[in-house]
Subunit: 421 residues, 2 copies
Amino acid sequence: MKASVDTRLVATCGPVIIEDPAAVRPLKLRLFDFIRASGPVSRAGVARVLNISPGTVSTLTAELIETGLLQEVTDPRKPPVTPRGRPPVSLAVRPDAFVVAGIKLSSRDRTGILIDFAGNRLASVQRDFVPVEHTASAQIEAIGGMVTELLQKAGLSWVDLGGIGLGVPGFVQNATGHVHWSPVFAERSFDLSRLASDRLGVPVAVDNDANLVALAELWFGLGREKSNFAVVTIEQGVGFGMVLNHDLFRGANGYGVELGHTKVQVDGALCRCGQRGCLEAYLADYAIARDAAVALKLSEAHTPPIPELIEMLRAAADAGDETAASVYRQARRYLAAGLATVVNLFNPTLLILSGGRMRYDWLNADDLLHEMRDFAIDAGDDLPPLKIHEWGDLMWAHGAAALALSNVTETQLGLSREAVA
Amino acid sequence: MKASVDTRLVATCGPVIIEDPAAVRPLKLRLFDFIRASGPVSRAGVARVLNISPGTVSTLTAELIETGLLQEVTDPRKPPVTPRGRPPVSLAVRPDAFVVAGIKLSSRDRTGILIDFAGNRLASVQRDFVPVEHTASAQIEAIGGMVTELLQKAGLSWVDLGGIGLGVPGFVQNATGHVHWSPVFAERSFDLSRLASDRLGVPVAVDNDANLVALAELWFGLGREKSNFAVVTIEQGVGFGMVLNHDLFRGANGYGVELGHTKVQVDGALCRCGQRGCLEAYLADYAIARDAAVALKLSEAHTPPIPELIEMLRAAADAGDETAASVYRQARRYLAAGLATVVNLFNPTLLILSGGRMRYDWLNADDLLHEMRDFAIDAGDDLPPLKIHEWGDLMWAHGAAALALSNVTETQLGLSREAVA
């Protein structure tokens, strides 16, 4: 071998700049996250699980109690340590610490929810989307009106509101609140978070919709006790959220991670994004509809809108039409390949297919897991469990509210992340 | 909406067990990792970057100095804070803290390296693999002999050795040292780490080869200053290692993550693994060789061994054979699709194509980046930089040594991770 090559491998001792300190999640936040997710837990339990000293736990929890995020509770189910002693004291989040609103904007409607710090729903509202109000300022006005309505329903007012979480489709950077592009705004590349916070007078956090669903699962759903899980949504597109180490994984640039445009067929079917062979091009509503028009032998003039077309295809498949059924079979096969990619690359402890009501009637978890065996690597372990979690219509808004909770928590702890741009 | 659906979304307050506390990286280890990677750094700098209090930094660094892993150094380039004061004191790893060996087993040969705690090479050795010695005990004997030879070359003996890192191809679980399957062992499903540690009398850490290369980049290579990067290797197969938050990402089951068998063409070309459409089936040596035989119009009787076949194809392409060139073009296109999947799903700050000498003469970073634009999502950012890092023959052994360093460090800090099985 040549020494000139190998000398490059040896560590030199010059100073090196670590480029993204924001990637290091502060200890106090990890501690809070753990208590929030685990429910009432003793200080000793926190120290043991997080592998930090009891002294550090005492210091950090004292700060969190002082801030009003945590409270001490006694668990009547647990006996006192000594016969005449007090019941053991546990730590838990304070439900009344904050009230936050979550609002989801989509091309079809706007939904909103008001929750307390423990995730209890105080009010909800849903409005059809009126496509003319497309500018950022019109959207922000409408959001403000919706939040007012939510607060009134709950007998509260704006001074009671800790913050707003806003879910929007498209390319959105959570850390900066910057919208690169979204189908629900006329403008491109603007600071939605700052605009909305200035106008509404409360902190407004922004994220894309797939991340919201992962947050909803993390804070309130199936992922609450998991440190590591994947969420895939299938509706107008294919969404993907990944939780690693109890935290939403957003990638280095903060735009989040993307499964729908991962290539499952190099140079394959044309996708809305302009590229070819994306998972979404075989799986999303518009992809099913494309095949539906062919399978149902509809002439161009008679092709109905996408939701209706999908209903027709489903009805034909249920009535025994083999071609119609094959469209769903192919979609399921590609979905299995996409989920296998997630399993191969992230190896999560749980896969959640999360979606609004009635989207998954053509899927079941057993069939999918069976098909995934053709695609996922066999390392001697079983595939991770796959759960289909059908939320109600408020799924996305719940996720937006979880974002607000997360944001309010970080601000309260003085730990708001630095911009990563 | 139905209340019965939505009540599932609200947090209940029962206790929940967090299932994998080992996923939480201890603070002391993160602090050590940071100092190791950044080179000499002040306590104040550590506190600022890791977002922890100066008091905590002082406590933890005192323990690390006590353990012998860190030392205080004065940086003569920096002026004292006051005219008559001492030069500022920085923290750095102690090169003489440990000596470790890294051994890489492959189907072709065994390579070994001996390094100090700062990664300086003390000795190296390379042996052709004799395929008859396939049992675990024979392999361990041979490894012991190799380590003895390395120590003798460096004027050291076994008592000076802190540990051994062992890289093996196949499905290997680092946390438990369990080999599920490997082409270099006759046995299946056995505890290599325990067997080797018992026989050789020093701690032996085990990992698969792709993870080793990521570790080599993290400890000694291009990833030293990055918290977040991806490494892809292309040789007999396609390897993948991912560093997140300064730590190798091994997935929930500890077998590591897998790119080579991710599907880029559902139901496409047959792969060695028995599945179809894997990235590796378009990119690895055997895949190129499969097309080479066709492109070169070789009859069955005259097909030479794979390395020779690839040389012949390369020569034909260089001589202007368009069919031969198209084989490389297709491989590059699939590689671009695979790298785009990594970018879409992990959004790393750096992509490293890492490999042994002379493997990448058909690739260049600019062409690949250009082709990746057909496959990676455009969120308004540029693609991450792509670097082709051609190590010498000791690349894998260097990674194995980094594994040993990592293992020795964790053991010294009393922080060895719990098994995740």
